[in-house]
Every structure is written in C-alpha cells, then in structure tokens.
C-alpha cells in the first residue's frame, strides 16, 4: 500500500483556546448560579445548555480528529503512528491526574455535604416542632372546649339574636372573632374584637375540608397562619338546634395568639422549614456540585485531549515533514522544501535538509542541463555525420563498432547495424570483400597511430571501389571511452573522372599533334610515288608502290583512329527531341536481323544464330534525347554483344526496357543482356575507359563513347556479369534530362544506390 501524506486537518489552537475560554466562563457562571447567585440564577439553564453544547462540540471535534487519525493510520500516512503514540502518552498523562482528582473531589464533596446535616440536629428540629405543636395543641383544646360551650349556648339562640349572643360570648370568653354560619355556609352573624378583618370585610370561611368534618359532627381546631408572621387558632364546631330536625349551624372561633406565642411559634416554624428545605436540598445540592465538578472534569479532559491532539500534531509535524521530504528525495524529487520551522532543533534540521536538497537539486539541474546540451550536441553531430558524403565509423578501445553513419553503410555496402558493438574483425569475417578495409584499420589501431590515412581497393559485387581512409585516435578521460574514428570516401568516381579527363586530354592532343602531320605524310608519299614512279624500273616501281601504299593506308588508318579519338574528345552537340526508345530498339533489332544475313564490310562475322529478344515496356514514355546518339549507343552495345557472342551457338541478346517508377516515370531503364562469356573481372572497373578491350581489333572506344553519350544525357550505366553466364549492361536514362538534372541536384543529399554510384 502506498504511503500517503498526513494532512493537516485538525484543531486549530485559536479556536480551541477560544472555545475553552468560553466554556470556562460558562462554567464559572454556572457555578456562581449554583452558589445561589442572584446574578446568574436565571441563566442557569442557558449556561447548562452552553456547557453541554460545548462538551458535545469538543467531543465531536475529538472524535472527528481521532477518526481522521485512524483513517490516516490505516492508509499508513507518514507520521500517523507517531502522532497516535504521542497522543496516547499525552492523554494518559493528562487524563489520569484529572480522573484521580475528580474521583477524590467527588468523594470529599459528598462526604462534606452529608456531614453538614447532623442526625441530632434533625431530631432536635423535629422535637422543637413537636413541642411547638404540643403547646399549641393545649391552647387548641382549651379553645375547642370553649367553642363547644359556646355552641351549646347558641343552640337556643335564633338567627336574629345570634349577633347579640355572639357579642356576648366573645366578650365573655375573650376570643378574637366569632362567626356563625348557616348550613349553606352563609354567615348568620359575626362578632370581632377589632371590628372587621383588616384584609377582608368578610370573615374567611372554613374550607370544604373543615366543613365536611363539621358535617360529620366533629370539631375542627387548628393553627392558622395569618399574614407573613402572625398565628391564630381557628376552631370550628357544629351548633345543633334544640329542636329535632333543626339545621346544624357552624360556629367558627378565631383566637389571635399572644405575640410571644406567635414569635416563638414562627421561630420554630421558620427554623424547621429552613432546616427541612436544606435537608431536602442536600441531594440536589450534591447533584449540582457533582454536575459542576463533572462538567469541569469532563471539559478539562476534553480540552486536554484536544490540546494533546494539537500538541501531538504540532510535535510530529516537523518529523512528518522530514519523513515526507526524505521520501520525496528517495523518489528523486529534489525540489522538496520543508517549512522553515522555528529556532529549535527541528527548525535547524529542516534548514539543513532544505540546504541539502537545494544543493542536490541545483546539481541535478546542472546535470540535466549538461545532459540536454550533450544530447543536443550529439544530435547535432549525428545530423552532420548522417549528411556527410564521407563514411564515418568509430570504434572503442577493444575495436568494437560504436557508431557509423549511413554514408558508411552506403560505401561499404553492408548493414552495419548487425555489427554494432561487435569486434571489427567480425565485419571481415561476415563480409570477406571488406577484408582490406578491416585489415588496414586494425593494423593502424594496433600500431596505436594517432592519425593515419590510407587508400584501399575493394572488390565488391558492383565492381572495384577505391576508398580513401583517414583515421584518428580519440582521446578521452578514461581509457574505456577512448577509441578510433575512421573517415573514408569512395573516390572511385573521382579517380574515374580524373582518368576520363586524362583520356580526353590525350585524345585532344592526339588529334592536334598526330592528325596534322598525317596529311603531309600522306601527300608526300603520294608525291614520291607520282614523281619517282616513272624514273624507276619496274621492280623498283613495285617496291615503291607497296611502300607508298602501305604509308598511305597506315596514315589513313591513323587518321581514322585519330578521328575516332577526336570524336570522343569533342563536346557533343545534342539534338534533343522526343524519342520513343522502344521504336528505336525495334529498328536496331530489324537492322541486325537483316545484317545477320549480309556481309558487313568491316565486320566480317555473321550471326546466323543470334536471337534478339525484346522485353519492352509498352507504357514507356518518350524521352528527350538525341535519337542519333541513342542509336549509336544501341549500335555499339549490340556490336559489343555480337562480338562477345561470336562463334557461340545459341547466342542470344535480350533487350529490356522498364520504367523505374510506375506512377510517375522519370527514368527509363534499358538493359542489354547476352549469354556470352561475360566480362573478365580485372576489366570490370575499367570497362568504360578508352582502349580497354578484350578484342584483338578495335579502338576500344565503343563502350567509352557509350558511357560518354549516356552521361551527356544525364544518365548512368553499369555492367554486371550474370551468374548463369554472360554480361548485362544497364542504362538509366532520364525522361526529361533537364528535370532529371535538377532532381539530381536536389538529390545530392540522398544516399545513391550502389549501382548508380558505380556508374
């Protein structure tokens, strides 16, 4: 699984601090409210809600961070394990003391509050209340007895006299208020010591509970609080009628207690009520304190855990950055820079790392730039080498082929790709014709020559090739990188051109230096014969006649030869016109078919068995050429073929024409093949030179003139021996010589075919 980077999703210190401060303030306020503070008492619910929400928020943040941390842990994010360990340690160190303090504080709080309420005090309070009630009960019983006496006295009193009776009874028994109710609860009469009640004009009637008790014939006597601090006794008794079936009236007696009784009673009441309230509030008070303490502890722990998460991230961050940086460097990314950090050791480490990666990055950039420049230089050199007409081959120290260009392939005529990184000797092993080349190079390398050059001759299928070699030892910092480079040129054509030029010069000089004296010689010989013939005897005349005839014939022969050379050396005047080469070939064939049965004056050979086969391309276009010159070419070639086939049975000449390119024919190919004995190898490279002939007779200019005419037509020719026997002369003639000349000019950068270069 690929390690991912630990992202920085977490609690920010500022939000955490603000949230913690707010929660702390809310806790303080809530605690103040618990302490019976009138300021925050009404806000208790809001404060509690704020604290609960804060706790939930903190808890959510923590859970989110822990979840996120575990996600990163599962993804094996850099630094996640260390963060988790550090977080665990920090949480353990922080939460444990808080938990201990919380536990003991809770225990102390509960015990402390419980200790406030002593069982003895509680019992004393109960006893005091009971004492008070007992004291008041005695008064109640007295008042109840008095009330019952009054009720007896009122039994015979009618409603109309009730008020008088009540006034009398009140005065007699010294009570505060007497009120007589009819059975419906309506007041019949009321007598009060101090007049109507200050708070109400109507005396307060007994409630329903009291009335139901009265209806049952019972007496109600109780203590009634009056106002905020006064007490009075209320006794309610039934008043029966003296007649059977009389309605039962109700007498309510109110007796205001003396101030001393009231104060003591109220004191006992308030003290008991306060104690009871406090005792009751003990539980809620503990709950409140527990709640506050728990909130404080929980909030503290949550804040501590949040801070621990933040701290763990903060502490691990430089290490995580460093780990990510080293990982990036390990992957080759030297541009990685770590955050600067502070002035601590992590910051120093980060700066050192950044400096290191910066140095490496700069060195790598320079190296890459150097590689790019070297590559550009190499491409440049390869381009130059590729377009050189000279062949270039380089070898390493162990004479293994390293580089070569296409010209080398072209000149050597082999595919050097197969010999890449192979020893030089393997080239000559695979290609014996290259042995002179390989031997020359190996000898120079073995002699450790710094610079050398040599001319060698190779005999290839295309003929004799003359190569000019120049070798240089390449120096390098290490011996492994040293080697040799050999530059060679095919100078065959150059030598041939030089030779052709030399022959042209010879022909011109022959025409100039030899032809001119011949005519005087011939005229002198004729004059001698004419002057001296009459003066000599018959025998001497015959001798003179033979001598002068010989002179004249030989001079004539010399003239013929010199004229032939003159024609060869003279620039040709071309009369170009569209020529159908196939028609011309057919004419030549017809000519030779007829001459086969006639005696040619000069060529005394007959070819009764010569078979001329034509394989002509019907779509051959007309070419711009001099028809007379073309006819001369065909004639010379047919003549050569006929002479090569002299005396041979079943002789055959095959003439073939083809378009070099089918779609857009620019060049036509003409080949004349015979089945003679072929051309001797030693003559192959000089076949088209003047005076190179295998015949006893002839000027040796036939093929030289053919070559010259072909070249005048911007064409090329070459000859090859056929394996089955015989020779074949190939001609390439451009359809439009002017266009072809342009094409050749444009094609100078292209690699010529071996046969074309041979021509």
């Amino acid at each position: 699984m690929e390690r991912t980077a630990l992202t920085h999703k977490g609690i920010g210190i500022i939000p955490l601090t603000v949230l913690s401060a707010l929660l702390f303030i809310a806790l303080l306020m809530m605690n103040a409210a618990t302490q019976n503070s009138s300021l925050f008492g009404n806000m208790y619910s809001s404060l509690l809600l704020i604290n609960v929400l804060g706790v939930i928020l903190l808890l959510g943040l923590i859970l989110f961070n822990i979840y996120h941390l575990f996600i990163q842990l599962r993804a094996r994010a850099v630094g996640s394990r260390l963060t988790l360990r550090l977080l665990g340690v920090l949480v353990l160190l922080a939460v444990t003391p808080v938990s201990v303090v919380y536990f003991f504080s809770l225990q102390a709080l509960n015990r402390g509050i419980d200790s406030w309420f002593d069982v003895k005090i509680e019992q004393a309070m109960d006893d005091a209340l009971m004492l008070g009630r007992t004291a008041f009960d005695a008064l109640k019983q007295d008042l109840a007895a008095t009330a019952e006496d009054m009720a007896i006295e009122l039994e015979n009193t009618s409603d109309k006299l009730a008020l008088t009776a009540l006034n009398y009874l009140r005065e007699q028994h010294n009570v505060s208020e007497l009120t007589l109710y009819n059975p419906n609860g309506q007041i019949i009469a009321s007598s009060s010591k101090e007049g109507p009640d200050l708070t109400s004009l109507i005396p307060i009637p007994p409630d329903e509970t009291v009335m139901s008790q009265i209806r049952q014939g019972l007496t109600y006597a109780n203590l009634d609080p009056v106002g905020t601090s006064d007490l009075r006794l209320r006794v309610v008794v039934p008043v029966y009628g003296n007649k059977v079936g009389s309605p039962v009236r109700t007498l309510q007696v109110l007796q205001q207690l003396p101030n001393r009784y009231t104060k003591l009673g109220e004191s006992v009441q308030s003290a008991f009520a306060e104690y009871e309230k406090l005792a009751y509030l003990r539980g809620p008070l503990k709950f409140g304190f527990t709640l506050s303490l728990s909130l404080v502890a929980l909030m503290t722990m949550l804040i501590v855990v949040s801070g621990a998460i933040f701290t763990a991230r903060r502490v691990v961050k430089p290490l995580r950055d460093l780990a990510e940086g080293t990982e990036a460097v390990a992957k080759g990314d030297y541009s990685k820079q770590l955050p600067a950090g502070g002035d601590d050791e992590f910051g120093m480490l980060a700066r050192s790392f950044n400096e290191m990666t910066h140095q490496v990055h700069r060195a790598q950039t320079q190296l890459r730039r150097s590689q790019f420049e070297a590559e550009a230089q190499r491409t440049y050199l390869e381009t130059v080498l590729e377009h050189l007409s000279s062949g270039v081959i380089s070898f390493d120290q162990r004479q293994r082929l390293r580089t070569y260009n296409s010209a080398a392939v072209q000149i050597l005529g082999i595919n050097l790709e197969n010999n890449q990184k192979k020893p030089l000797a393997s080239i000559s092993t695979d290609h014996e014709q290259l042995a002179p080349f390989v031997d020359t190079v190996r000898e120079a390398v073995s002699n450790n020559q710094q610079e050398w050059h040599a001319d060698i001759v190779l005999y290839q299928q295309a003929g004799r090739r003359v190569l000019m070699l120049r070798g240089t030892k390449m120096s390098a910092l290490t011996s492994r990188r040293s080697g040799y480079v050999v530059v060679f040129d095919d100078v065959t054509a150059l030598i041939q051109a030089q030779r052709d030029a030399a022959w042209g010069e010879v022909a011109r000089r022959l025409a100039h230096e030899i032809k001119n004296p011949l005519t005087p010689i011939q005229l002198s010989a004729e004059r001698i014969r004419h002057k001296c013939m009459k003066q000599l005897d018959e025998k001497t005349q015959n001798t003179l006649e033979r001598a002068t005839t010989t002179i004249i014939d030989q001079v004539e022969a010399l003239k013929t030869m010199v004229n032939a050379f003159s024609d060869y050396a003279r620039p040709m005047q071309m009369q170009r016109q569209p020529v159908d080469l196939n028609t011309l070939i057919k004419d030549i064939k017809e000519l030779y078919r007829v001459s086969a049965y006639t005696q040619d004056s000069q060529k005394q050979q007959s070819h009764p068995n010569l078979s001329i086969e034509l394989d002509l391309d019907d779509e051959l276009p007309k070419i711009m050429a001099d028809p007379g010159r073309l006819r001369q070419i065909l004639h010379n070639l047919m003549l050569n073929a006929g002479e090569a086939l002299a005396g041979k049975n079943n002789s055959r000449v095959r003439i073939t024409t083809r378009c070099i390119t089918k779609d857009n024919c620019h060049t036509v190919h003409l080949s004349i093949e015979d089945n003679g004995s072929g051309i001797p190898p030693e003559m192959m490279d000089r076949l088209f030179e003047p005076y190179v002939t295998s015949k006893e007779k002839g000027t040796g200019l036939g093929l030289a003139i053919v070559k010259k005419i072909v070249e005048e037509h911007s064409g090329s020719l070459w000859v090859e021996n056929i394996e089955k026997g015989g020779a074949c002369i190939h001609l390439h003639l451009p359809v439009n010589p002017a266009l072809e000349t342009g094409n050749k000019t444009n094609a100078m950068h292209n690699v010529p075919s071996p046969k074309e270069s041979q021509a």
Binding site: A33, T34, Q35, N36, S37, G41, N42, Y44, S45, L48, V52, L106, N110, L129, G132, R133, F136, T199, S200, I204, D207, E208, T209, V210, N222, L223, D224, P225, V226, G227, T228, L231, G265, E266, V268, Q269, F272, A273, E274, E276, K277, A279, Y280, L281, G283, P284, L285, K286, F287, G288, T290, L291, S294, L295, L298
Partner: protein, 195 residues
C-alpha cells in the same frame, strides 16, 4: 400515580445525567387548562376558569419539605386574523405561590400581587384544595386600553400554566432542569372570547 425514577445524582456520571435529559420516563402529573370563559366588555376583560394543576411526586415532596413553588399563569389576549397570525393585544402574567406551613400543617397560597381583592395568604388543610385555589381563575377586571379594542373583531385568549423552575432554590434547579418530573407545563390553549 406512578413515580418517575431518576438516577442518584451524587454517583451518576455526567454522561448518564445528560442522557437522562433526553431519555427519561414521562411525568404523570401535569397541568391542564380545563375551562376558561373570557368575556370582554368595552374596556374590561373578565376571565373565569379552572386549571387542573397536578403536582408530580417530586414536586409534592419538595413542597412538603418547605420548598415554595411558583405557579405562573399566562393570559394572552389576541385579535383573530384570517390570513395572518393573531395580533396580540395584551398579556397578563399571574404568579401564584404555594408553600407548606409545617407548624400548622397548612398549605398556604399566596396570590399574585395584582390580585388585590384576595387575602394576602390563604391557608388550606389539604394540598388538593390549595392547588384548586391556585388553579381557580376569577379575574373580574383585567384592564385594557380602549384603543386596542376596535370594531367587532373576534378575540381569543391563550392560556398557559406552568411551574416556574427558575424560581426554585438554586441547588434544586439543576435537578429540575434535568428531570421531566419538574417540567410541569400545560402548554398554550386557546379560548374564544365572549362579548
């Protein structure tokens, strides 16, 4: 009447207490507005009615231990509107206090300060009678400004009664806030105003 169980506050962890806020048994005792008869004259509103106010055991226990309880009765008079919400004209907040007098064994009902026609303290020998007195509405003259009562609009009265936890002693408030036994509230009920 079923008691509502609560976790012991002194030992319960806070999480359980917080949980108790949301997950707890419902209170049996409840406040209900049984009947309200509001009647509107020119500038005076007469309201009579009965509120069934039942205290929970916890509240009864607190009352018997001397904790005074404040019962708040909210009266809100609004003008009916067809397409919009009702337009509140006036609102009265009646606060009645009930407490237990241990020495006499009486339940004391202290009416709102605005109820001047009633005694400052009324004592009852039973809690039911005291609560019935607290829930007994008989307001003869709730004053209204004449400019707020226009035309023959229909009016409604919203009534609500609830135990005011905020007036409880501070130590008791955390328990009261976190326990549904203390959340005694009738909710708003609406009554048509007679004219």
């Amino acid at each position: 009447m079923r008691d509502c169980e609560k976790p012991e506050p002194n030992i319960a962890p806070l999480c359980l207490l917080l949980l108790a806020i949301f997950v707890s048994c419902p209170a049996i005792a409840e406040f209900q507005v049984s009947n309200i008869e509001p009647r509107l004259t020119k500038t005076t509103l007469h309201v009579t009615g009965i509120l069934d106010l039942g205290l929970s055991d916890k509240a009864e226990e607190a009352l018997s231990k001397g904790i005074p309880l404040d019962i708040v009765i909210d009266l809100s008079l609004s003008k009916k509107r067809t397409f919009l919400w009702n337009d509140r004209i006036s609102m009265w907040i009646i606060r009645r206090n009930i407490r237990y007098h241990a020495l006499s064994g009486q339940y004391l009902v202290i009416p709102d300060a605005s109820e001047s026609d009633k005694p400052a303290i009324e004592s009852f020998s039973s809690l039911q009678e005291a609560m019935a007195q607290v829930g007994n509405l008989d307001f003869d003259q709730l004053e209204l400004s004449a400019d707020k009562l226009q035309g023959d609009n229909d009016y409604v009265m919203d009534v609500r009664a609830y135990l005011d936890i905020a007036r409880l002693p501070a130590p008791l408030r955390p328990v009261a806030y976190t326990s549904p036994a203390w959340h005694l509230n009738s909710g708003w009920t609406q009554w048509n105003v007679l004219r």
